[in-house]
Symmetry: C2
Subunit: 189 residues, 2 copies
Amino acid sequence: MTTTVNESTRNGVDTATLFATLDAVKAAPEAARFQFRARNEWLSGTHSRGTIDGFFGVGEERAHERTFHFDADHPAVLVGRDNGPTPVEYVLHALAACLTAGIANIAAARGVRLTEVRSTVTGDIDLNGILGLDPDVRNGYQNITVRFTVKGDAPAEKLREIVEQSRARSAVYDILTGQVPVAITVDAG
Amino acid sequence: MTTTVNESTRNGVDTATLFATLDAVKAAPEAARFQFRARNEWLSGTHSRGTIDGFFGVGEERAHERTFHFDADHPAVLVGRDNGPTPVEYVLHALAACLTAGIANIAAARGVRLTEVRSTVTGDIDLNGILGLDPDVRNGYQNITVRFTVKGDAPAEKLREIVEQSRARSAVYDILTGQVPVAITVDAG
């Protein structure tokens, strides 16, 4: 960092743009309607490849600066070939990334400079559920635990408040805890 | 594929191993207790990097054959630098991959050879929620739609039943629709 750095940038967040974006959405709430997408192609066994590129937002169709590809698979112990993480591990990654982005934004907005944000997310799952062996066991995680280490130029209590505000505004936290309606349609044959 | 191919392999799924795994878990249900994990390190702004390597299952600590890293970020329109997909896009990818792996396994178990499984998952989200501008708007997706194209050597109705059984046994579908308890702890300072 040099003395020429934009004074409105904190934690790598351009707070002036952040606040301008908030004002723009206040003035035109329909700009906040987004649609995100992922495509997937089955390769073999439990191995598939996901593609993420286009999305809709601020009134028009948009694209990421590059196309992202992600393989998913099961490990050998779950009769896969370990060509990628399991789908349920991607969920944990998504939760950590969402909370972390929120922490950086909220800290910046509150004038707190962060020096470190690390987390480990664990999810406990009993596969008797998805294997259909015990009807009393759910298919998904029985619980998820997120452990954050957060350091910055604010007292621990203020840092904890930032994490809590990130949780309160996290899209992925809400998706995992709020029962999103999911519809599946099939073009088969 | 040659005439020497293992006759128990269908759709790239080793069904003999799949059924043996089911029998092993029936005999020792505690083998099905898994813990998956993701670590995350904040880099700058909304950009963070996730790491997936170790997990616990079948009674012992295990590791993927290699360590997986995934960047997440926001696009410029959401005041990020687009170094990776958004966290909510990873959730869509996870759902597609989970349902697809299940389709391949279930089809194999039912003697159906698949030739194509493709899907597009879309999630509609109104950012007035996470921006805190409208208390009546949820933070997460308002709805998720999965569109599958499935082809194989079975009638369309049977292929649809396979997709439905995959949904009924999908860990990620359950996580998104079943309100997983999520706990967050913070080591701040």
